[in-house]
Amino acid sequence: MKPNDPQLKEILAGEYVLGTLHGSARERFERELGRDEELQRLVSYWGSKLHPLAEALPPVEPPSVVWRKIEARLMPSGVERVPWYSRVNFLRPFAMAAAAAAIFAFIYFGVITPQGPVPHMHHSMAVLADKQNAAGWMIAVNPSSKEMMAMAMHPAPMKPDQSYELWMLPGKDKAPISLGLLPMKGSMKMKVEGPMLEKLMGASGLAVSLEPAGGSPTGAPTGPVLYQGSLFVMDKA
């Protein structure tokens, strides 16, 4: 392509968008396109002029299996190479969350009376907050009753075909372990026993991902991680 012929550039850009450029002509054009801003502008011009042609087509609903296949492969954009649980920053200060934690402790630890805590296992809790520090849930763990309680604060609304799933993060580079689905309102108790309880007490953090209704189909988080938090010790019995 003669790079300085403006009329040729216009037409070649049109042909590129139309799709008639192919083989080596198309490769040459794409090489030029990468470094020529005028050519980029022309391609975007022709795109805006010609692509309305596609909008004139009668819509055809694709089979639902296509979306299911896409959905199964949706990972947070750009993070495919690094597992998200290795990158999560647990040291973020949660000023608002700490205040909410105090309220939670006041309400709940008055009710759940410790019955002689297991040695080295303390009542712990976590606030699961989103990126804006808004609390979605509070989590309390009572090692003596081997129970975990999840209380909904203000989880962001989701669609009926979705669930929020809670994960414990056993430590850097170790795969998350599911702790179950979270309630959208009110609170829910779950039994956490034996090795799971020990892992939970030593976990480096908790995270909540958005999953298809009923939870992750794979046993590992498949959706975006929207809330996170760390357990902290409430008593030193």
Partner: protein, 188 residues
């Protein structure tokens, strides 16, 4: 919301769904898919003429949209335009790969020769871009037919020449003069 017609969805809405998808919001992606997939699928079916291939390209195209949604901005064109160009590129690549693999099998020229713009003329009536419609109508029938067949079927110059039983040079001239005429008319 039941509408799946992308023309019913404002470009602003599509842009905000793209932005949310770029932040990893799968429900925004699901909505984007509901709005945009029927028109895109329709286009892929025209170009690829095979449902399995159209489904495959639709799937890979949407995964590409998901991965690049964070890079989308208005400078790259309206959101639907941006998505169409991703899909069309993939479809045309797929088409030409397929043609190479089945060399000798001319599936293009098998279709009604000398039909000209015939199959696409009706579509022009449902084209909502009035300027484009008017300017396409100003072109000669040959130019318009060549441009529409290239757009809706992803045909190369050679394939158009074989389809329309015309010399390659004639086809190239129709397309180039057609595009020049279109641009001149659109900017009038």
């Amino acid at each position: 919301m039941t509408s799946s017609d992308s023309s019913m969805t404002s470009p602003e809405r599509l842009a905000s769904l793209l932005q949310a998808s770029g932040r990893g919001d799968k429900s925004a992606m699901a909505e984007l898919y509901r709005h945009a997939s029927p028109k895109l699928f329709s286009l892929l079916l025209r170009i690829l003429k095979r449902e399995d291939l159209a489904e495959e390209v639709l799937q890979e195209g949407f995964l590409s949209i998901w991965r690049h949604a964070g890079e989308y901005d208005w400078k790259k064109g309206a959101p639907f335009t941006w998505m169409i160009s991703i899909m069309r590129h993939r479809a045309i690549d797929q088409l030409r790969r397929g043609r190479r693999e089945t060399t000798g099998e001319s599936d293009v020229s098998a279709e009604s020769v000398s039909e000209g713009a015939g199959p696409w003329e009706n579509l022009l009536q449902s084209l909502s871009a009035e300027g484009l419609k008017k300017c396409l109508e100003e072109l000669s029938g040959d130019q318009r037919g060549a441009i529409l067949s290239a757009y809706y079927e992803g045909l190369t110059h050679e394939e158009l020449a074989s389809r329309l039983a015309k010399p390659l040079g004639t086809i190239k001239t129709w397309i180039r003069r057609g595009l020049a005429g279109l641009k001149e008319c659109l900017e009038r």
